[in-house]
Amino acid sequence: MKIPKAFILSLILSAALLGHRSASGQSGVKGKVTAAESGETLPGATVTLDPSGKGAITDADGDFELELEPGAYTLTVRYVGFEGQSEKIRVKPGEMRTANVALGSQTLREVKIEALGQEHLRGAQMGTANLDMELIETLPAFMGEVDLLKTLQLLPGVQAAGEGNAGFYVRGGGPDQNLILFDGAPVYNAAHLLGFFSVFNSDAIEDVQLYKGGMPANFGERLASVIDVRQRQGSKEEFKGRGGVGLISSRATFEGPIKKGKSSFIFSGRRTYIDVLTRPFINKDATFGGSQYFFYDLNGRLDFNLGEGSDIYISAYAGDDAFGFSSAQTEFSTDLDWGNRILTAGWRKRIGEKALFNLKGTYTNYRFGFTGGQDEFELRVRSDIRDYRIQPDFTFYLGGHRINAGVLYTFHDISPNNSSAVQGETVFDLGVQQQYYSHEGAAWIADEFDIGDRIRVEAGLRFSGFAHVGPFNRYLLDANGNNRDTVSYGSGERVADYFGFEPRFQMRYKIDEKSSVKASFTQNYQYIHLANISPLALPTDVWLPSTDLVEPLLGRQYALGYFRDLYDGKFEASVEVYYKDMKNLVEYKENTQPTDGVGNNEDNFLTFGRGYSQGVELFLRKVKGKTTGWIGYTLSKTERQFDALNDGRWYPAPFDTRHDLAIVAAHKISDKWTVSSNFVYGTGRPITLPANGYFIENRLTLDYGPRNSFRMADYHRLDIAATYTVDPMRTTTDPVTGETIEKQKRIQSKWVFSIYNVYSRLNPYFYYFDNEGRVEENTFQITARQVSLFPILPSVTWNFSF
């Protein structure tokens, strides 16, 4: 997509003008923002001065400076992952007042999902939530594995994909409608082990920000949500380590300065060891004797402070799942492997006091591979996605306006389900391998400003475009699905392109000091689609770009909310209602088989439809005191309609959950003990069941009824956890004075005891039907069975740091 030069030029000129320092002798405020615990400077923190409407962004050294008229102000500093802080200051004529601010990192002492008090009243944004890892680590964890994506599922409007599953659905959007960013790079499959664990190692994560409603204009690409995960920076002051030993995996993280105060590194690793532990006990001659499974993650990040308000960083992730199965008895073997490779490089430069320039380049690779063989036959299937992105953007203050503008370019290289097969010397003709090349671009500008004392507006406009280019072969099919012709496109030749505006608008009206109402409108285009044959999200699911057949998804969301503080700010409450419509949703046509796309275009087997989602979300949370937590409840309805499916009738989306409830609580008993629990309830997932049966060749054949017309049993579960913090001090006697002295232990540690599914509820994972006996012997019968995955599961994890 071509980016208008004038747009870039205007951004540069704006920044240059803003960078011009004002004459000395004026009054104002300046200071440095640091992390209270480590003393690290915090570049990119937001500083606002109410009621001036002015703001600034700290530079790479954490410094800020603002010119102000003399008077009284409330200075507020915000930084993601840290407690926000406000203080009253008075600026005298001719004085450049110094106000250094040390932000406390979020600790176990307060469990919270958004650190800054009253932020939910002040900000224009709605449908957002910030989770910090301290909170996540406190809550009960499935099999002891702390997982930020599972914690997201406890928020209203976010629904779990299933038992123990890290996948999720946001406000009626499919799993492909969530943009998961890891240090700015998209993650296509954020799940290990078919979705039971997320790829995010908690030790390596700073925090996660969820946008499920009013998406700022700097985000797009997906309809439903953005999950912005930020990796931790290493300490620039001292060498540290942390880790954990759990039942199924262990992890370790090391960090420290490269050049003290200037640069740092952090490296993390995690690996499961089910395969290692079970190997001695598995008979190699057994049916599953050749089976093994493991996953691992490696994270790393380097940060360099270049001085003069400039810093750079490099962030990387690599993770894989590997499953192998072989049976000597049946000569059958198979290997499955899938994983992500992610690399981000970023440069941040403060320009003047009021502008910050960010430049980010990312590389993402997601791949899935399958190899199966029996005797001389071998089949290989590979799917591969490569994204190359570059994103420059500016954030600057202009009067009372906080403006963010930027551009994003992505080159997509997607090869779905490419297969090859051989048998002995015979090579099967599986046609030309599929490869989709495409360019995606976006430019945006967003402005956040106040109108009077009560109204805050965040308005933005995003313009996005997409071009599918050659080389590409389009197979034209006849009515029977046979290839009747082929249209070939040369390298770089345009196959299809799409453009569209994505307006964003959010507004807050402050009723009084304790309550406000907000409204938002968001329009999004999505040019990348996930097509899944199975009702469950799997690594085999196929990502496809928009093409000449597949138009981009279009979603519009309208939301209205009421926000209120209760009991002197101890409680925060909100009610949000939303309505979202979606066009150009994709599904596979009825009866598409996994092999149909071989030697063909995968998108030839897709069909297109529309959908909507509407709901009410209630949220009540306690943010202060020894006991903290929240209650989130969502009442929602999500339906879809495809002309080619379900006889064209509307049907519930597979993840439509009428009632969704989460109750989360944590209580600090003492300095040593913290206990927590969560309870979740959700209406049963809709599924399609056979309405009729008939016999073909004496075998029962199923005639399915209306799509998703039956619901499985409701889902509910209670988890509890207790965290024991080992006394960080040790007592010794001074050999000289004989006095008793306390010293900090070299290794700090915690034990986390967790019980998943306390009352061992057998929640349905799937239903199936077993038919036994023979009709001609009068012994035929059908039995419906429910499979549940996890009864009560206790676990213990030892976490350490030094």
């Binding site: 003709d429 046979n482 199936y768």
Partner: protein, 316 residues
């Protein structure tokens, strides 16, 4: 690739061995009954058509219920020639084994159940290669139509038995097949153990389709390939030979007929979805798909085959 969902299931269940299951009661209202056709015409054989209706999936299915699902007042024509209605309770005893061969229902029970089928007794309807057979069924105030084409006969180049891996007794059947240069050729294989053999394995009363033995030349058009087949066996069979380690294998000493049939793509398409549905029952990864029928106005299949047979003795 078809095996991917199955492998994922193995992975899931192997890792989470704590998974448990229980029998549940499900109340799903039955849909409106639909007419189902199960018909075939084969080279050298008369067309045979059964017309049934669907039943509520969770309704009890006794042998009598099954017999009651057959429609005995249909008007069935092939190429405009009406087929004769033949009911099991009207058949002379010497023809009951032929009925058993067609339906799998034991002859003694068939004589008591009035199960009716429709057979083309007109010599003009005996199946011939390269001929199209148009079916029309009138029943329950509905008209169902279909057409099926018997392709030219194609014999495998060779067929042989081979033991698998470490087994001293059990094995598969292999065939070398040279596919014609026209695309869209489809095949289906049946086996029938005819014994006697030294193992005293029971003989099969009829041909049974081999599991996964419906295939098309999508990926090997105009090539010679080696194909492996398992032994066909009755559905839900409780015979010892059909369970345990001998299930679906041929055993050394077995004598059996290997029936190799050419058919058309729509027939393959139906049985491909049929086998996928049979194989995926219980898989959480399988999409709930109905079969790709070639019957206009109803369910089922009107299949045409051109078949050849080989008699094989399983000798390593």
């Amino acid at each position: 690739m078809k095996r991917k969902p199955a492998i994922l299931l193995v992975l899931l269940l192997a890792i989470f061995s704590q998974a448990c299951e229980k029998v549940i009661e499900i109340d799903v209202p039955a849909g409106e009954p639909k007419l189902v056709i199960e018909g075939r015409v084969e080279n050298g054989q008369p067309p045979v058509v059964f017309v049934t209706t669907t039943r509520g999936f969770f309704e009890p299915t006794s042998l009598q219920d099954y017999a009651d699902s057959f429609v005995d007042d249909a008007e069935v024509t092939v190429n405009g020639i009406e087929l004769a209605r033949i009911c099991s309770d009207e058949l002379p005893d010497d023809l009951l084994p032929i009925f058993e061969e067609s339906t799998g229902i034991p002859a003694d029970q068939a004589a008591e159940l009035g199960i009716c089928g429709y057979v083309g007794l007109n010599p003009n309807l005996i199946g011939e290669e390269n001929t199209t057979y148009r079916l029309e069924v009138r029943a329950r105030d509905q008209v169902l139509t279909s057409a099926a084409h018997i392709p030219n006969v194609l014999s495998p180049d060779s067929v042989w038995f081979r033991l698998w891996a470490d087994s001293p007794n059990f094995g598969y059947v292999f065939a070398n097949l040279t596919d014609p240069d026209t695309s869209g050729n489809a095949y289906r294989v049946f086996t029938r153990r005819i014994g006697p053999n030294m193992n005293d394995n029971p003989v099969d009363p009829t041909f049974y389709p081999s599991l996964g033995a419906s295939f098309a030349d999508d990926f090997f058009n105009d090539q010679t390939i080696e194909v492996v087949f398992l032994r066909g066996q009755p559905p839900n069979s409780s015979r010892p030979v059909d369970t345990g380690e001998s299930a679906r294998f041929f055993e050394t000493g077995d004598r059996f007929v290997f029936k190799f049939c050419s058919t058309t793509y729509p027939v393959y398409d139906f049985f491909n979805t049929y086998e996928a549905q049979q194989g995926s029952t219980g898989s959480p990864f399988a999409a709930p798909n109905n079969l790709n029928t070639n019957i206009n106005g109803g369910l089922g299949i009107w299949a045409a085959y051109s078949c050849t047979t080989d008699t094989i003795t399983a000798v390593p």
